[in-house]
Symmetry: D2
Subunit: 334 residues, 4 copies
């Protein structure tokens, strides 16, 4: 089957997620990049912000206000919370009716949960109802034809995929999960200063991370999430454990069956045959790896993904593919 080339724009593409997205789309067989916008880099080559891309493209950044969405099939919005909703609003005001994939947190939660989680009230709550939560492994049927896809958070993706098959079978999930410094973005900060990050581990916002409500939305009220996020001394990747007490003991085979059935058609979830997964095999890939050890009603589920790929850019491509009618793995797997 052949596909027409889809024309994709990246809004605010000078950050880490934007760079990964550009790299993926440049070699996507059914996509052409219409524009990559950046306020601070407008007019400069992409390589100015993404040095790795030098020699692979002649694209230059477009100023956001110069983006012409006519002829564009989809826009991917890379923005912080609050600014994603504003960007979507502006695109619709400008008459853009095509697909939007929003990497910000602004269309992931119901309004009430959003307002309880983020510092300012949602600027455009009426948009939330239009959005589909873009976790295809859980929600695949809702994505084709959607016009607004909320790309899940990086930690949320990992935890939701690890726990979703257990929904209804366990009470509390005790999670400790590590993330790399690229998760904090390209702007230097005290927590990403090399001398304080290298060789260190530092918990932050225990019990209060903003991705927790996303996971609760996926796994339902029956399971409580106790989540300790930790800054890890590496650049890319999320790795963690969820200690779960099952409501009733399950034989190891039964646990395996739960996961295999949940992810039978999921090309981007790799179930780990040998227990908890390692981090390195997912870095640079679009996969989330999941594994577990169990002992009666005691279960530990391990999870690993690349925060910039399955936690951001490759998941956005996966959502683009599904929403635009392309093969789900196009541009992501050989």
């Amino acid at each position: 089957m052949t596909h027409d080339l889809k024309c994709i724009a990246i809004l605010h593409g000078a950050g880490y997620a934007g760079g990964e997205l550009a790299a993926l789309l440049l070699r996507h067989p059914h996509v052409e990049i219409a524009a990559v916008t950046s306020r601070s880099h407008a007019g400069e080559p992409l390589a100015k912000a993404h040095a790795r891309l030098r020699g692979t493209t002649d694209l230059t950044f477009t100023a956001p206000e110069a983006l012409d969405p006519s002829g564009v099939d989809a826009v991917v919005v890379c923005a912080e919370h609050g600014k994603g909703a504003a960007a979507v609003h502006a695109l619709r005001e400008a008459g853009f009716e095509g697909l939007i994939v929003d990497l910000s947190a602004d269309h992931r939660l119901a309004q009430e949960a959003y307002d309880a989680t983020y510092p300012a009230p949602h600027p455009h709550p009426e948009q939330i109802a239009d959005a589909v939560y873009g976790l295809a492994e859980v929600n695949r049927d809702a994505i084709p034809g959607a016009t607004l896809v909320a790309n899940p958070g990086c930690f949320a993706t990992a935890m939701a995929l690890a726990l979703w098959p257990l929904a209804g079978r366990a009470g509390t999930a005790h999670i400790t999960a590590f993330t790399g410094a690229s998760g904090s973005g390209a702007r230097p900060s005290p927590t990403t200063h090399f001398p304080t990050r290298d060789g260190n581990a530092r918990a932050y916002r225990p019990f209060a991370h903003r991705h927790q409500p996303e996971v609760e939305q996926v796994v339902g009220d029956a399971m409580q999430i106790q989540f300790v996020p930790v800054s890890a001394p590496w650049t890319r990747g999320i790795w963690g454990t969820a200690h779960v007490a099952l409501d009733a003991p399950l034989a190891p085979d039964a646990v395996a069956t739960l996961y295999q059935e949940a992810y039978s058609g999921a090309r981007f979830v790799r179930l780990s045959p040998e227990g908890l997964p390692e981090l390195l095999p997912v870095v640079g890939t679009p996969f989330c790896d999941i594994g577990w050890v169990s002992d009666g009603d005691a279960l530990v589920v391990g999870f690993a993904l690349d925060n910039l790929l399955k936690g951001a850019a490759s998941q956005a491509v996966q959502n683009l593919n599904l929403a635009l009618g392309l093969p789900e793995t196009a541009g992501l797997l050989p």
Copy 2:
């Protein structure tokens, strides 16, 4: 108060713990090093194995069989499980009646627990009754005057100190804890190969780590330990979380009081005023840092220590000090 110089020998001192121990004892005000033994480095300067020590000492390694324990106040045994017991046996056979601090696992557990945990039956079970478990914060009164001190394991020290104040107040502790590559010793292995360790996280022996029974011995049967040890991409340090469900909710102040009372006189436990501790502030120090966050009956305790110091060499010096009647902090704090 002045103290006579105590004369200390280090048996099998060419590994990482031996190097740290030598560095600490070289600047200990009340100690002189009688000998450091090594089979493979006999006759060579200490700096051959511990390059950092070059220029600080003229000591050379002694062959183990050439060690003359007469005039020696204490011997510190650095050995793997099975070999520590043999070394103690040989020292006693040779007529040495002074203090032995054993860094191996061989005198930490009751015989039954040892035989269930380690691959071979205990070679000298009759020695176990002579040994005191050298976790001074829990067991301080038992150490002065002891002739055989079992130096605790690195993970065991961290977990036992984190959980001991909760004994009798909680059921299961769900622990995920990371350790640096120096914990695997100086011999190269696939899990410490730089390309597979850097930027990686890898769980090993989940639910089955050998330090678990040590912790259970300290905290008692009432608390169950579910422990996932993880190889971390750094050289020194243990950092972890214990998720605990309290039997009854405790106000944050009450949790704080529990810990403050448990460690009121403990110079090497630092309670973290601001939640879970970071790793870096303990690296290179003799401290174990402990902090927590709580929410009703949900409690997460964080812990951090340097596996080669409070998890090995500085704890050995602390035990030497206490057993020999020196100030507990001599050679360790200014």
Copy 3:
């Protein structure tokens, strides 16, 4: 232009270079992988040795002796020095007449230079004359139609590309260059043990590295190479400086012109517009970056490449493409 699929086998593909090569060929549009051999992993999935590839291919390793070269267009040999020549010999004995790209050192040097450099005499010196040195930027015209291509060494590629435009204009090049731990291969060793590699820098074989004669072969006798190779605390990448005294002062523009002319059509050499290049922008890419600063007759040339890609696997693909009549950048650039 359309191309028939070329059928490629990888001999001894369980190491780092083999894994990179498999990843590149799996998404190469004009290639299909005939077989990947491994003695120790025969019958196992590729992901057993290359965990990152799980979920991207169903290929399993073939035993080397089970490789059937009929129908194969090219074989890439991943082997250590001495064994590459033997593998080429065996393939020819078995009647294989197609293209061989040899990643070992065995066909890079004239016999005399080889015998002076490597520990054992060349096992099949008669093969050397058949080989073309596969540094396309220097030697592009010789590669199309070749039947045996010697893939250059990783350090040699970087240094030769940095210095070749200066041939005839400078005497001695004083080089200090760093390499990542993946350059030592997948087998653990004392120099790749994490505690001795992380945060360390260690020179080895100063003035005596085996890649030096390769560079001398490219730049000619007029330039002397003084090379200090250094083990660096990272996994991937070569980065170094060459301090050169020019025979006559050159204006900065004239230096720039030399390099621009030398590499005008070279898609995999990126000249650095802002002085010495950084390492990170080449990691994971098929590029060698080159930059310089000059001051009269004093010139420092900096160079950077990914030792597993432009220093091994992507250069092998570049050579496959050129020798088989495919576009040089196929499978490597978007």
Copy 4:
């Protein structure tokens, strides 16, 4: 011999050098810390800025203006260029006549060289004549009794010690040297942002580093310095090579003799018996390690030191010791 306790103040002690200095002085047998000042941390415990020190001292930071120098034997000034001179000026204005050790660059160079190197003219050039360059290995006799000691720069210390024995015997020194991220101080910046520092190497200010004139002052006009400084992916340590063409060939023994004679009484220079030194053995120590390989008139000298110790804090203690009549190694070696 017993010594009266010397009373030392640290001015602007909240940065990395100040933390190291406090740690060293806390365990110095002949020193007591009078005060550590910090504008932003005034009134807070030292551990607020230097977490590692918690549990080792009850000292709190003093506001700089509250420092009372009466009764103080020496003040160590930790400040950036321009501010060191101002601090010295203010101390003298306030009537302080004791010893000052200045870690800033302000008293290291003659006025002309200073003004040509740093962005603003020297604010108090009349102070320069009072200062002694505190590189004891070169300048030991000038330090006892000095009232103002200019503590050398970190790179300058390493390069000057590596090259000084060659003064008069060589023309140009081609230097490439790496420094850790702690060299940039405690304030986050783009070049110390973890994702851009880890696994990277990046040259900066080639031929134009500010420490170059310091080295030239030590080695004299006869030797030219071509210096490429590089940001390295580690926290602590300077490691580099100097490629030198000797005016006349020297046998390896003769080179060794040059260095052994130059540093015969130098307790903090360790000559490397086995060629170029490694970095790790100096980290956390007060040593500068130096080694070399030679081949006729070609010589490469390697050097390594801890930028925060021999490159800053331990060298300041060494200077304090010498200037105050204490043993040179007090508080630094066992």
